[in-house]
Symmetry: C2
């Protein structure tokens, strides 16, 4: 049996919350957030006691056109600085760098020249060597780093063991369990977090969790991952994120007992900023097609297309994704 850390009455002092609204939420509006929105979100996160705020991807402009995406697809130091100044606060700033989609040697500058504190390297299990190279590069430049191994529901234990061995020797601060397809249930999340924690035992490295809501388990999986030792948890406001979205930040902060966290700023932000996005037709959140791709452990792209097209022939959809 896996040991439970803490209880409903106690504070897990090691637990830290990362707001990924701009980054995962950006996947549903092509990163077109207005500056006023991003600035208000930054102020909200400060007021709510959030530990890290993520400002999007640092994508390679040779691969992705600046005409087709908002600026948070690229999250330059300059654009972040325009929002946060020198970010002279207790909250840290992160960006995500995808293996194969980030010209990291050129586009990630020295920490001393950047408002960013942490680089989160996102990778599939088969590109771990490049992920480690990116982590080493970022660490050399002075950043905290994480490795976010995507689609963990598809990973073999033997490959994960190897990946964790590589990461144990790297300068990475935390390794994330990423349920990209929203395929996993709490019982599985507990096992995987435990597996990560054992693989990293004695290194001082942390385990993180990033969940998707295809089967309405994003929040439950996040707190269950935490209950067995994960200590970096991703949330997004109203769960804004690709497809069925993520663990909601408001649910997560409401759950956490640490008095440093404060829910009212998030409720106020939802009222004044998030509802407007919904009114403007930005669509995310649980729906039947996402349940079905989650159930069969697939990328949500077919479900996203079905929801966008208003296709409610759920039975046909289910039959097609089994093919």
């Amino acid at each position: 049996m896996i040991q439970i850390k803490g209880s409903m009455m106690s504070v897990r002092e090691d637990a830290q919350v990362l707001d990924a609204t701009i980054r995962d939420g950006g996947l549903v509006n092509d990163f077109y957030f207005e500056d006023a929105f991003v600035r208000a979100l930054y102020e909200m996160n400060l007021a709510a006691g959030v530990d890290y705020m993520e400002f999007g991807y640092r994508a390679d402009k040779r691969q992705f056109s600046v005409d087709k995406f908002g600026k948070w697809k690229f999250s330059s130091d300059e654009d972040i600085r325009a929002i946060v100044g020198d970010n002279d606060t207790d909250m840290k700033i992160s960006v995500m760098a995808d293996v194969g989609r980030c010209d990291y040697k050129k586009d990630i500058h020295k920490k001393s020249e950047s408002p960013v504190d942490m680089i989160r390297v996102a990778t599939y299990i088969n590109t771990m060597p490049e992920a480690v190279a990116m982590i080493e590069d970022a660490a050399d430049k002075g950043y905290e780093t994480t490795c976010n191994i995507m689609a963990v529901s598809k990973c073999k234990e033997s490959d994960l063991t190897y990946a964790l061995e590589m990461l144990a020797k790297s300068p990475v601060k935390a390794v994330y369990v990423v349920d990209s397809y929203g395929a996993l249930y709490p019982i599985q999340i507990r096992d995987i977090v435990h597996f990560y924690a054992q693989g990293l035992e004695g290194t001082g490295k942390l385990v993180g969790i990033h969940a998707h809501n295809n089967q309405q388990c994003a929040f439950a999986n996040t707190i269950e991952g935490m209950s067995v030792g994960a200590s970096m948890m991703d949330g997004t406001v109203m769960g804004m994120g690709r497809g069925a979205g993520n663990c909601s930040l408001e649910g997560l902060l409401g759950f956490l007992k640490n008095p440093k966290y404060d829910l009212p700023p998030v409720l106020s932000f939802i009222e004044h900023y998030m509802l407007k996005l919904k009114e403007d037709g930005v669509v995310w959140g649980y729906d039947i097609p996402y349940l079905l791709t989650g159930l069969v452990d697939q990328h949500p792209r077919t479900a996203i297309a079905a929801v966008k097209a208003g296709d409610t022939k759920y039975l046909d959809f289910y039959n097609e994704i089994w093919d």
Copy 2:
């Protein structure tokens, strides 16, 4: 540590599913379902392999006007028979009888004269003696019975211990953990199910679970309750139920590994019947006010009123419910 029963690869042969769409869903449309809907739902449940279908409450017509509620508020034997005939199938039929709201001596007839198989007695913890009297009456008349102890998040362990002792001596078949306010998290559900199972140990009585989705834990709580030994699980199609709704039947059947369950009939029913309800303006499902009443462990009535009124002043709402 609480022992986990089964695994993701195995079938829990003891697990049974109850569809409560008409009963809990009826709370959001005052039980006005068309006969064609109820008949199609019955056929769907048969095709999906569901173990029990619940046909609403058996409310006392002296207390509730037949002019203000659809017939499934009262679920007479005649009305059920008009849908199911003699129900010559493997699926069983249940109705719910609320303590204090059911003239059970008169309105619950002998099993031999009724298409109903099981009477579910719903009670708060402080009316356990009447609940037990109702259970004994129904058992004497030939029915299976359950006791659904509502608002378990508000119950003291000492009172629950006493209630379980009373029920252990009664003819009840199963005792339900009912998270009426959607206040509980998986870690708590596991403890409570374990507490029930220990209290009923050696009696052969089952533990059931009925969850609400205020904090998006209805499905996760249901399968986590099952993982530690609950074997009667309530679901509703699309989670239709009071306020934030329930555990979705489609999520639950998708999760269960027993080949007797079949998801496609549920998907087809959603397409052809449930979407119409939504289009017609019947409202249920997760929303911020439900999160907040769940967080503070309150009845969702204020949240239902806020959602109905389209009130999105979430911060004011949160401040008010703390008062």
